[in-house]
Symmetry: C2
Subunit: 113 residues, 2 copies
DNA sequence: CTGGGTGTTCAACGAGGATCGAACACCCGG
DNA sequence: CCGGGTGTTCGATCCTCGTTGAACACCCAG
């Protein structure tokens, strides 16, 4: 566990709460991914190393507020994991876990078309 | 091609138009399936032999009008195929074709949870 | 401590879509 | 020809959800 800690030692902010994959239904998963903005987020996130992309660093045509909502949705569906790193909140795709729960779904989304 | 024709020789009704699977996007597919009613339709349909279930024969808590809309949505997404058989419109799941286009997705929905 | 950057929350708005009832079209059995 | 059964379409309603702007909270660099 040495080397990846960085700046996240003490967290005084509201810690993001994540979903237990087992509690996520297929419907919720599909509904979460069946949105153009969220799909772009997922794809863009997949093409970057983990924990490198802050929420605001995505190329989507919506304001901060909407963006926050979308990330909350993805979090609730168990698609992404978030961690506070200083002032910004960085993301990672829960690839393995999500794929174990919904085999092929993420791959399907990432394949694009 | 002999033996499965049945009653559908001449069709004077409005023939149901089906989607070309290649033109269906992942988003449309997910959006079509991310609905409780439509999901029940698909599951129930999967547990019956092809061409045996008419639209009205499904156990869903909506009226005829809504039902018609839902079937149109599933049709547009390439999930189901419909054929007029006398007065009623019977359905079949496009399992192989849909699975070829979106591998694992249908299986995921049918698995339930 | 102050200021800029980042994200969340809130209230409000608007668009999309799910739903219903009713009207219509069609097919079949009397 | 008529009537019941089956589906589609239309108009209207309702509600969910995506979106915004503003206010707030937090962190870091000066």
């Amino acid at each position: 566990m040495v080397g990846t800690e960085g700046t996240q030692g003490a967290r005084h902010r509201a810690a993001p709460v994540h979903a237990r994959l087992a509690d996520v239904t297929v419907q919720e998963a599909l509904a979460a991914l069946a949105d153009p903005v969220r799909m772009r987020l997922v794809r863009e996130l997949a093409s970057s190393p983990e924990w490198t992309r802050a929420c605001g660093s995505f190329d989507v045509p919506v304001g901060k507020a909407a963006l926050s909502h979308h990330f909350a949705a993805l979090r609730a569906a168990g698609v992404v994991e978030q961690r506070d790193e200083g002032a910004r909140r960085v993301n990672r795709l829960r690839r393995a876990e999500f794929d174990a729960r919904f085999p092929g779904l993420l791959e399907l989304v990432l394949r694009g078309d």
